[in-house]
Symmetry: D3
Subunit: 106 residues, 6 copies
């Protein structure tokens, strides 16, 4: 269930053609998102922050979309994440993430 | 108050010698950590995640230490953040962060 | 005045919906581009270098365009910046930046 | 000969307009791909790994395409490189590289 | 067996305190280094290239040391990897990696 | 002449053991720092900015030291560069660079 969320097109090929990689990714994903203390939802916010900070358009968009769809994370919550991105990573990733967020909202 | 947490030695020089930069950083820090929805504590976890993902030893250490001291964030909570770092950023930042965490715990 | 240059679409939303962030960014921008010794123009060249080195298409393009429009920075000057990018950051960001520069020139 | 492989559109402009940079890049490229022990083909696999790890779409695509065309590097070999990318750099560059690989294969 | 190579101090704590993460990492490591076409040794060279390119001192050192110890990878082979790092990632990671290599050789 | 400035210990080994790489680096360095319009001194400031933004302690320190020694670049000028780093790359590289600058000044 959790595993279905993170994956895009690339991974459906992996599942079929490289099942050993796929299965390792499923395990990794499960270990990553089964926190002892933090909720999955909070971990998702952290994933949004990390991908936004790394300025990767596609990963950022995928994380934000899944955050909003699967976890009902609000725009204000994402902006609260992006505030930290602005502080730790500067203007270019912040403005890029803001633009992507508003595109998703439209 | 919030502003005292994030800053290290470098910033005390900035405060004295470059007050205009210092004051902009204070404003930035305030805007960053005054979320509309997320608590400061949650934003701190996000800052831990971003600095760990970027593999910057010193920033990572400073964020983890302040997370544990100022917010009583537990080791398990930090590990829950690092689970996301492992997934999104790979083994080298994860093992580095784990080593730093255990050094701080000792 | 200076503040109008750096900002793209994302920031107009920020101005309206998150005025506290906007105002912190304006302060940050002012402190950033009000050097004690270096001219704004020279700082702009540095911003072109940093965004080119980080291989971020959009930020690179925005910086180059504003450099050429607002400061009459020439193509040769930008190439002089990109020479340093080649040395410090390798071929991929250099060729990407060169391609973007020539697209802007056409 | 080797020099023709790595270069895209940006470099044809450089050749004409900035011959001193072009000639330095040719020298650099020759030194880079004239290993003492490793074959050019193996070095190419390393270049695929590095550009994939850095999450740069365009460089990644160019390297993969040239790897497959000039060196008859197979999809399975590239996936073997991407396995290392998954381990060292996490899911986002891995899934991005997988998607690009399958686009090239189609 | 393969799993023992990549891990440093951080991971022994993980094994004891977070067995679910440890077990996911073991799976990941196995999938990463069990290529269909490339030998483990070649994949190791790729791991050296990626960690050197990312300028991470500690990861670079660990990878180089394990490359030389476990796989009898020679200094000349590592330099052949670093040639590609110079081309793709510029002087700072190249000179850093060279310095670390010579420290390991002494 | 220019070539002697950028190089550290790593490169003296390269000169002796890998003369082909050394000679390519000399050419690269010459092409990089022989701008058509910008002075070498300005290009040096750009190199300080790029290495500071990439958060690489050692490269940053080497660039700052050579900037101050070889070009009489002042602390205020370096801070003017770091203002741009703060804006484009966030607090962690800025505070790190500030700390290194003050260590060099002492």
């Amino acid at each position: 269930m959790k595993k279905d969320i993170f994956y895009g097109k690339g991974m459906s090929h992996v599942k079929k053609d490289y099942p050993d990689i796929y299965s390792a990714v499923v395990e990794l994903n499960k270990a990553a998102y089964t926190g002892k203390e933090l909720k999955y939802r909070t971990q998702k916010l952290i994933a949004v922050g990390i991908t936004a900070a790394s300025s990767d358009d596609r990963a950022m968009k995928k994380q934000m979309r899944s955050a909003m769809r699967e976890f009902d994370i609000t725009a204000d919550e994402i902006v609260d994440v992006l505030r930290v991105v602005l502080l730790t990573s500067g203007m270019p990733p912040f403005t890029k993430a803001m633009r992507i967020l508003y595109e998703l909202l439209e």
